[in-house]
């Protein structure tokens, strides 16, 4: 049983989805989703602990077909770190979804909602686990197709969800197709799709133009999927108009998985010393990352809709992850993994708390939360902590990842970039302060809708807040895991350069 865990955590949500769709009771569907995501979470924690204890790469051969003929699932330090993020956020979001979905979605659609919900989680877990490049594409499409449907389900309250979902579909498909084109070129050159095998055979063809074209197509496709500036225009409408539970799930997981796949392909297949990689892809990622950090932060400052505000801030945070990747060093990669992990927690907390407000008031804007600090103090405090973590205030998890990011940049003598990273992080204070001012320093306007909070509404968000604070105060195990993940791709002997 234990050795089948890598496939089980993908298979469970995949198999549970049709059951959730067929059993047309909304509590049953939610129960299935809750149990399945909970089990997947436990499995991914077990895998993480096992991998940490063994310290090696665990390979699961599907149907006992060895690589490169068969497809393998790979649990190494990197995938073991990302899996609990996805299934954990998925589990907490499912916990919160019961209320959010009841408030926002037509009861007849609930079972279909949870089916798509489970499929998107299964697709993301699959992308992280699989060791086959084409398999990544299939799981990418499983998670994306169900995500398009989930975003469109926001149309019951807000018809703008429909064009948002359509644009997301077009750009998402273009991104995935780019990835497949690049993969086709790599297959043509090497005759293999297994990631480890590809990495072994690519050096023989490293000076060909086809390999650079493949690298460009793969990187571009994944940039689109991870919403790296300037390919981020699908993200803000999709997050803003999707049902609140979907926003919380996607903001914390969907783009992160693409970041992970990018790391896996760029470092795991091409390798950091691949000729031209650091100059071309690395420089592009660094430049776009810092540009995204500023554009996202500045756009967030002028935004008044809270979902859009934090979606813009996601663009900025993805920019920081990109900077970590673009630094092309072990520390940079560890910082990217740390920020991937921490940002999932912060954004999960923020969007779950905002979702509870949006579910009651219809929309969550600066006007909605004006003076709300006294009416719903516990929810607003969760938003406050989430915002502080986004800035990178000490004692929050956001601080840890920013410290390692700046350290990675200083190691490479990127002084300007380190300064810009610091400035853009400080700018985030502007939009967080805007929320503090509206919620606590302004009176509740007369005639504003009555907001309330119960334990079942704020507990999911607070679980995430406690995790953010916990990993901020006691960060050592997480930092160690992140460096172990980084060393999968860049051996520690090369860590200093």
């Amino acid at each position: 049983m234990m050795q089948h865990l890598p496939i089980l955590q993908v298979l469970l949500p995949l198999l549970a989805a049709p059951f959730a769709a067929m059993l047309r009771g909304r509590d049953v569907a939610w129960g299935i989703a809750f149990i399945t995501t909970g089990t997947a979470f436990l499995i991914s924690i077990a895998l993480f602990l096992e991998q940490r204890a063994l310290g090696t790469t665990m390979v699961y051969e599907l149907g006992n077909w060895a690589a490169p003929i068969g497809i393998v699932y790979v649990i190494d330090a990197a995938s073991a770190l990302v899996l609990p993020v996805i299934s954990g956020v998925g589990f907490i979001a499912t916990l919160a979804a019961r209320q959010l979905v009841a408030a926002e979605i037509d009861p007849r659609d609930h079972s279909l909602f949870y089916a798509a919900w489970l499929l998107t989680i299964a697709g993301m877990l699959g992308q992280v686990t699989t060791g086959d490049a084409f398999n990544i594409f299939v799981f990418l499409e499983i998670s994306s197709l169900s995500a398009y449907a989930l975003v469109a389900m926001g149309s019951g309250r807000d018809r703008r969800a429909l064009p948002a979902a359509f644009n997301y579909l077009i750009l998402g498909t273009v991104g995935a197709t780019f990835y497949v084109i690049g993969l086709g070129l790599l297959y043509m050159l090497t005759g293999t799709l297994n990631l480890a095998d590809l990495a072994e055979r690519l050096p023989q063809v490293e000076e060909t133009r086809a390999v650079f074209t493949a690298m460009a197509f793969i990187a571009l496709g994944l940039f689109l999927k991870m919403a790296l500036f300037p390919l981020h225009f699908w993200l803000v409408p999709a997050y803003a108009h999707a049902p609140s539970a979907v926003t919380a799930l996607m903001a914390s997981t969907a783009t992160k998985v693409s970041v992970y796949v990018l790391i896996r392909l760029i470092f795991g297949v091409f390798g950091v010393e691949f000729p031209g990689l650091a100059d071309a892809v690395g420089l592009a990622i660094l430049t776009l990352g810092i540009a995204g950090a500023f554009v996202g932060t500045l756009a967030a400052i002028v935004e008044t809709d809270l979902k859009k505000l934090f979606a813009q801030s996601s663009i900025a945070q993805l920019g920081y992850m990109a900077i970590g990747i673009g630094a092309m060093s072990a520390t940079g990669l560890a910082a990217a993994f740390l920020h991937l992990f921490n940002h999932a927690l912060m954004k999960g907390a923020l969007f779950l708390a905002i979702g509870m407000i949006a579910a009651q008031a219809g929309r969550a804007t600066m006007g909605t939360i004006q003076g709300a600090g006294k009416q719903i103090p516990i929810t607003m405090t969760a938003i406050l902590f989430g915002g502080l973590a986004l800035i990178g205030v000490p004692l929050t998890a956001g601080f840890i990842s920013k410290v390692y990011l700046v350290r990675a940049l200083l190691e490479q003598n990127f002084w300007l970039l380190a300064g810009l990273t610091f400035i853009s992080s400080a700018l985030a204070l502007a939009y967080v302060w805007k929320i503090i001012e509206a919620a606590w320093l302004q009176p509740r306007p007369a005639g504003a809708p009555e907001l309330s909070e119960t334990a079942s509404q704020y507990v999911p968000a607070w679980i995430m807040v406690f995790a953010t604070l916990g990993f901020g105060i006691y960060a050592t195990p997480l930092v160690e895991a992140a460096f172990a993940a980084a060393h999968v791709f860049i051996p520690s002997t090369m860590g200093a350069n």
Partner: protein
């Protein structure tokens, strides 16, 4: 003459794929009509299918069905299998896309990008 033409004629399948790819991609980007966007997306994806299928062809190779003759040259079946999966993905994407278009037509009364953007801007101002 042949030195000039050979690289082109010898790789004509790739040129065809690139032309098709660009036609599809142009339609996705330049067309405002959502149905036409989906059609463009299909052409774009089909060009990728052809890229894969044509790379699986082995000179003088036959269909990859065992003949029993050890001298038979087979085409590479793996790209075919991959593309079978990709076709399924493409069909699903098209289905979801058209389903969304129907819902957009129902609630906006138009499937033109420009009309919808104008309507959304109006809503943004009033809300």
């Amino acid at each position: 003459m042949s030195a000039l033409l050979d690289p082109i004629l010898g790789q004509w399948n790739y040129y065809l794929v690139i032309v098709l790819m660009m036609i599809g991609f142009y339609a996705v980007i330049a067309r405002g009509n959502m149905v036409k966007k989906i059609v463009g997306l299909n052409i774009f994806q089909t060009s990728v299918f052809m890229l894969y299928i044509s790379m699986g062809k082995v000179a003088n190779g036959t269909a990859p069905i065992l003949t029993g003759d050890p001298n038979t040259v087979y085409s590479n079946p793996l790209p075919h299998v991959l593309i079978l999966t990709a076709i399924v993905v493409g069909v699903s994407t098209t289905a979801v896309g058209y389903a969304l278009i129907i819902r957009i037509q129902e609630s906006f009364g138009s499937i033109e990008d420009d009309d919808i953007i104008a309507m959304l801007d109006d809503e943004e101002e009033t809300s």
